[in-house]
């Protein structure tokens, strides 16, 4: 397996579980990883570069250690380092601070997550939560951001990381208040469930995953030279649908259908799904959309 500074630790551990001992051997800071709870919460989110930062070791040392147990290593480091600026933004100063030092908790081999979560839940909008730790708590920051917090971080003289969290309170704008657009409540977001249940959409979750940027190009490349093209823009309803469905029935194995369409054909989509086809789309201009229809893998 080829790894570089951006590879996630979890991937490395999945490939070779012994890597955990190697990583723990790099620096005493990583011994915490041998704690399974901590490992579980850390490893999935943390990349090699993040881990090196947490362990205060150069990324190269980290990669070198992994190279020794058989990983293929790319030493090129993407330029992501940011200089830390230690000026506290005004909305973090002059507030009551709730301090939580997690170093003793970790030293006892316990997972600090529960303590932090409890403190975060009880935090009032005007208070600041300060987490003190001896490594940069990247997973924690990700977690609390997802729970509607904003953070600010600095390192003290002893090299400890002081991370400040406060609730993300935004005053609703004029239009937001007028039309009741969904506003972000100023509190701890308990579960993702909250968001989905409030939508109350009776539709079952869609089986075709949301298309991401670049998916169209990926599929286009994948079927390069193996695509049949049709242009249905000048056909009357429901001829475009008819032409598309007829064409996919006659596609040779492994081929995809490239359609020039006026828009994404909403009423065709459920039928494509039933026939086990997926699609990607790309809007070229108003009234002109590319569509690639291809056999679903599953």
């Amino acid at each position: 397996m080829k790894i570089n500074a951006t590879t996630k630790i979890s991937k490395i551990l999945k490939e070779n579980p012994q890597a955990i001992d190697v990583i723990a051997g790099i620096n005493h800071n990583f011994r915490k990883l041998q704690n399974p709870i901590l490992r579980r919460s850390l490893a999935t989110r943390v990349s090699v570069a993040d881990a090196a930062k947490i362990g205060k070791v150069p990324v190269e040392d980290f990669l070198k250690a992994l190279e020794k147990i058989g990983f293929e290593v790319d030493y090129h480091i993407p330029d992501t380092d940011k200089k830390n600026i230690y000026i506290m933004p005004p909305d973090f100063s002059n507030r009551e601070i709730v301090k939580l030092d997690v170093r003793p908790i970790i030293a006892q081999g316990k997972d600090p997550f529960g303590y932090i979560n409890k403190a975060a839940k009880n935090l009032k909008p005007e208070q600041i939560l300060l987490i003190i730790n001896d490594f940069e708590p990247i997973p924690l920051i990700d977690y609390l951001i997802s729970k509607n917090f904003v953070h600010w971080m600095k390192q003290d003289d002893e090299g400890n990381y002081l991370t400040y969290f406060k609730l993300n309170c935004k005053k609703p704008g004029f239009w937001q208040r007028l039309f009741g657009k969904k506003e972000v409540p100023c509190r701890f977001h308990s579960l993702d469930k909250e968001v989905s249940s409030s939508k109350q959409n009776e539709k079952a979750p869609v089986s075709v995953p949301h298309q991401k940027e670049g998916d169209f190009e990926k599929i286009e490349k994948q079927y390069d030279g193996k695509m049949k093209q049709i242009d249905v823009r000048d056909l009357e309803m429901p001829m475009p649908m008819q032409r598309i469905l007829e064409s996919i029935e006659q596609l040779p194995e492994g081929y995809a259908l490239f359609v020039h369409h006026k828009r994404i054909p909403q009423f065709l989509l459920p039928e494509l799904k039933k026939r086990n086809y997926s699609y990607v789309a790309k809007e070229i201009e108003p009234d002109y959309t590319y569509l690639i229809v291809y056999k679903s893998n599953s």
Partner: protein
């Protein structure tokens, strides 16, 4: 730019279909009511029989069509699923019951005992619809000018309904001093122009270029039309309430007309750039309806300029003609046209979508009788011609003939709708397969 995609935006057929069925029956009932009370057309335009007929036409026929068509079109216009299909189904039954109740109330002319209840039920059912559309808009991923037309239309519907409800309740509780006829005017402006015209324009911006197959249209015309129409309607309603000065009303009237003209320019753009040169019966109706839009424009101008002498017989006839030209000249003509385009497509989707590419499938227009549709079209034109003549000449016999023509039209329309609903796709495919086999031998 790649877009986020859903596959399941299209509504279930069981949500859409009942609306078209109710509308067809409503259209038939309308025909019967018109023949039965043909003499009602020669009384004051606000007599209870005419109110029953107007509300059958506007709610039982047109509103139901708009409900059904809009549920089907939400995915296309908003690029999102309808907010709640369960609510839509509930709304259908609730609305159906409310319409029957309301029309019955008007028919027997019971303003004091029943009307407040009927109006309340009607208000609730329309509110459910408006709520469903507004919530869908909230999730919409397309928020362009076409979507704005729809949104402002449902806003005016809510306004028209609120006023209708207040007027109806006032018959019983008398909480404000009002000339009910004056409220009838603002109710009609918001309902007919704010809701129906705006909604038909909004749906038309998607459907008409789609059926004419025209690309690259000048959407700026739509923007202008949208803002002019809304400014004009809001101004007209407010001035009727606060400052009913003829000049002010004329100014806002002109703003509305400017909005209508910009819209017609957009349609003209689409018509000129169309790929499909010959118009089928559905598009014939549609294009004609837009020409007929000139009538209410002219009549409303006459109404504004007419010297104020309340109770004048001429003014009342013109008022009645104005209402009829709107409901029958414009709305019903375009509704008949567009249902001959959308309904066959919806039924085709239901019956043939899964068979396409595997068997030889018919075109949507093969699901109904084009011959019947053609006859229906000409008879309807005759009705549109006879009605104003009968009213101007105050000729009761001619009016009776006109209403009988209308009844025949509604029977023919029902024939085609039921033919589509009972179309048997299996039978069709078997027949086609046999024919193909025969050709081979």
């Amino acid at each position: 730019m790649a877009k986020n995609l859903h596959t399941d935006n299209a509504p279930d057929i069981s949500t859409v279909k009942p609306h078209f069925l109710f509308a067809a029956i409503g259209f038939l009932v309308l025909g019967i009511l018109m023949v039965v009370s043909a003499s009602g057309f020669f009384q004051a335009y606000y007599n209870h029989r005419l109110l029953a007929i107007t509300h059958t036409a506007v709610l039982g026929w047109l509103m139901m069509l708009i409900f059904g068509s809009l549920y089907q079109l939400i995915p296309v216009i908003f690029d999102t699923a309808l907010y709640s299909e369960r609510l839509a189904k509930f709304t259908f039954w609730f609305t159906a019951a409310s319409i029957i109740f309301l029309v019955y109330t008007f028919w027997i002319g019971d303003y004091v005992r029943l009307l407040p209840y009927a109006a309340t039920f009607m208000y609730l059912s329309l509110f459910f619809f408006v709520f469903n559309i507004m919530m869908s808009y909230k999730n919409a991923r397309i928020k362009n000018i076409k979507a704005s037309f729809i949104l402002s239309a449902v806003f005016w519907l809510l306004m028209a309904e609120t006023e209708g409800l207040l007027t109806a309740l006032n018959f019983k509780f008398n909480f404000y001093n009002a000339i009910h006829v004056a409220h009838l005017h603002t109710h009609a402006i918001m309902g007919l122009v704010g809701f129906f015209v705006m909604m038909i324009f909004g749906v038309g911006t998607t459907l008409i270029p789609m059926f004419l197959i025209s690309h690259r249209l000048n959407e700026k015309l739509l923007n202008k039309s949208f803002y002019l129409l809304n400014t004009g309607i809001a101004g007209l309603v407010l001035s009727k309430y606060l400052y009913p000065n003829r000049f002010v009303i004329l100014v806002f009237w002109s703003i509305i007309i400017a909005g209508v003209i910009y819209y017609l320019l957009y349609i003209n753009d689409s018509y000129k750039k169309r790929m499909k040169k010959t118009l089928d019966v559905g598009m014939k109706y549609t294009m004609l309806s837009l020409v007929f839009l000139g009538l209410p424009v002219l009549l409303s101008l006459i109404l504004i300029l007419l010297p104020k002498s309340n109770g004048s017989r001429y003014a009342e006839i013109i008022m009645l003609l104005y209402g009829l030209s709107m409901i029958f000249g414009f709305f019903t003509t375009i509704a008949l046209g567009q249902t001959y385009k959308t309904l066959p497509f919806i039924i085709w989707l239901e019956k043939y979508q899964k068979l396409v590419g595997k068997y030889h499938t018919p075109l949507p227009r093969e699901l109904y009788s084009e011959k019947v549709a053609g006859v229906q079209f000409y008879l309807y034109m005759l009705f549109l011609l006879f009605t104003p003549i009968a009213l101007i000449l105050q000729n009761q016999n001619l009016m009776l003939i006109a209403t009988v023509l209308f009844l025949i039209v509604s029977v023919l329309y029902n024939y085609n709708v039921w033919k589509m609903f009972f179309h048997d796709s299996e039978q069709y495919i078997n027949k086609r397969e046999k024919e193909i086999l025969k050709d081979h031998n």
